[in-house]
């Protein structure tokens, strides 16, 4: 009896074992991310053109794009973008730099851990935006208060991510370093920091996004230029096109950060299994 049978029929030789190992292994699917944006924007365009979405609820994406082009042509784009980028760069660098350093110290020294972990836990839930007026009083209405707000806001999530990452470094590797007589500094720089790097990097995704949120908040007080000031002004005039242009700029900034971190991960974390 060796005739061929249809699949799934009760073949005398037995039934095929059902495959159940599917899923739980997300693979990159190129183009889908872009498609989601395109579909959403196209839907908004269609909705506003047919009048199904009123012009008061949502601006037409093409009009937002035109505003954006205008902004670019007139040179206003850079006038707003450059100060914003400078603020996020300076503030973010301070916050992340201090955060990573303190996080590593918390991870390495019992005394620092005992002293700072409760403090960080107390600072973390404070909405930093609420402190803006205070920062203005402490650091002045100019740039310093903006840097401070962004630095403070990026600091807390960075510290928490960093000391968590340091805690998770394989103790066996540290033992190995000690057993070969490596210096303290070698162990920290060649074993602890590279081992903590993936965790620190995923912490940075969160910290930088929080930094962008705080950037806008800080520019709502005492800023002539900047994406936040631009959005605030547009909002006050209920100029939806400009409001959305500003919002889109922030989204682009977020995408850019995420893309850069992806690049760094691909470049430096290829060793992960």
């Amino acid at each position: 009896m060796s005739e061929r049978r249809d699949e799934g029929s009760d073949d005398r030789r037995g039934n095929p074992v059902a495959f159940r190992g599917r899923g739980f292994a997300p693979r990159p699917v190129p183009g889908v991310g872009l498609a989601v944006f395109v579909i959403l924007i196209a839907a908004a365009e269609l909705g506003t053109r047919t009048g199904w979405i009123s012009a008061l609820t949502l601006p037409r994406p093409s009009a937002v794009f035109a505003t954006f082009v205008d902004l670019w042509r007139s040179g206003q784009l850079w006038i707003h973008l450059v100060p914003s980028l400078r603020r996020i760069l300076v503030g973010g660098s301070i916050g992340i730099g201090v955060g990573v350093s303190l996080g590593v110290m918390i991870g390495l020294f019992g005394l620092v851990r005992a002293g700072l972990v409760p403090l960080v836990a107390a600072l973390f839930p404070i909405p930093k935006i609420a402190l803006l007026p205070l920062f203005v009083v402490w650091f002045g209405i100019d740039e310093a208060s903006k840097y401070a707000l962004i630095a403070f806001g990026t600091f807390t999530p960075t510290v928490v991510a960093t000391f968590g990452a340091v805690d998770n470094v394989d103790r066996g590797l540290i033992r190995m370093g000690q057993s070969f007589g490596l210096s303290w500094w070698s162990i920290v720089s060649k074993i602890v920091l590279p081992g903590a790097f993936p965790g620190i990097l995923s912490g940075l995704r969160v910290s930088i996004s929080i930094g962008i949120i705080l950037l806008v908040a800080s520019e709502m007080i005492g800023a002539e230029h900047g994406v936040g000031a631009y959005i605030l002004e547009a909002g006050a005039l209920y100029d939806l096109e400009r409001l959305f242009t500003g919002v889109a700029l922030l989204s682009i900034l977020g995408l850019l950060v995420s893309w850069i971190i992806d690049l760094v991960e691909r470049r430096f974390l290829g060793w992960r299994g």
Partner: protein
């Protein structure tokens, strides 16, 4: 350089792990430590390597290590302990970088130990690309690179399948035959112990004490799988350990 263990005893909290262990490890010998699980073998090895201090007794080195030895007491770990972000070569380099060696000298040492462990072709590979046996060979290459006076091996083959560990056992014998080294070799596997050990130290169950020291006179290079003399030694070891192992297996941890 010899190692001397004098009356070492230790407890973790209320759990007594080792009691009055005295042992000497003479130059050029491989001493195997066997004993039931939890009897303190790894703990004793950590004392020997200076990674932990015993509560009682002391561990001494007798005589000077060879002057060219960079790290006299050197470990090979059960789970390899390779840095996953460094290549095979980078992992070996890691342990040389802290010593004041010229670039050329480091290159020469790395090339030499990779050749001795048959890894030269894989110098640029990352640990994730290697099989378990190769990873352990990298760890052995790394240990050889610092020219140890004593190698401390904690179940170096137990994470590997039996064929791979058989091959690696041959590698260790070949390395020793070419250039005898001193080693303390912790293992669960009695056949490994009789293949490698000049002396085999049997520890009792916790608290670990020395029950018996077995001397195997046959030269390492003559010991082969299934040799009747070795089998007899192995049987003898098992007889010694059986009761301890049964008793240890019945014990509740943390009592």
């Amino acid at each position: 350089m010899d190692l001397l263990i004098e009356n070492v005893g230790h407890s973790y909290g209320s759990v007594e792990v080792l009691r009055e262990v005295s042992l000497d490890i003479p130059h050029g010998q491989i001493v195997c430590l066997v004993g039931p699980s939890g009897c303190g073998k790894s703990t004793l090895l950590r004392f020997l390597g200076g990674l932990e201090e015993p509560r009682a007794g002391r561990v001494l080195t007798v005589g000077e290590p060879p002057s060219d030895s960079l790290n006299p007491l050197t470990y090979v770990f059960q789970h390899f302990a390779l840095l996953p972000w460094r290549t095979v070569e980078g992992n070996v380099r890691l342990v040389l970088e802290d010593h004041r060696l010229g670039r050329a000298e480091i290159d020469a040492i790395v090339a030499d130990v990779l050749a001795r462990t048959r890894l030269s072709e894989f110098a640029g590979a990352l640990p994730k690309q290697l099989s378990g046996g190769m990873k352990q060979r990298v760890a052995i290459a790394r240990a050889l690179a610092v020219r140890p006076a004593v190698m401390l091996l904690d179940e170096p083959l137990s994470a590997l399948d039996s064929q791979t560990s058989e091959l690696l056992l041959d590698d260790l014998v070949a390395l020793w035959t070419r250039q005898p080294f001193t080693a303390v070799y912790v293992t669960h596997n009695l056949s490994e112990a009789v293949r490698l050990g000049h002396r085999i130290v049997v520890l009792s169950r916790r608290p670990g004490r020395i029950r018996e020291i077995l001397t195997v006179d046959m030269p390492l290079s003559d010991r082969h799988l299934g040799d009747p003399v070795l089998e007899a030694h192995q049987r003898q070891l098992w007889e010694l350990m059986r009761d301890e192992a049964v008793a240890a297996d019945r014990e509740l941890l943390g009592e």
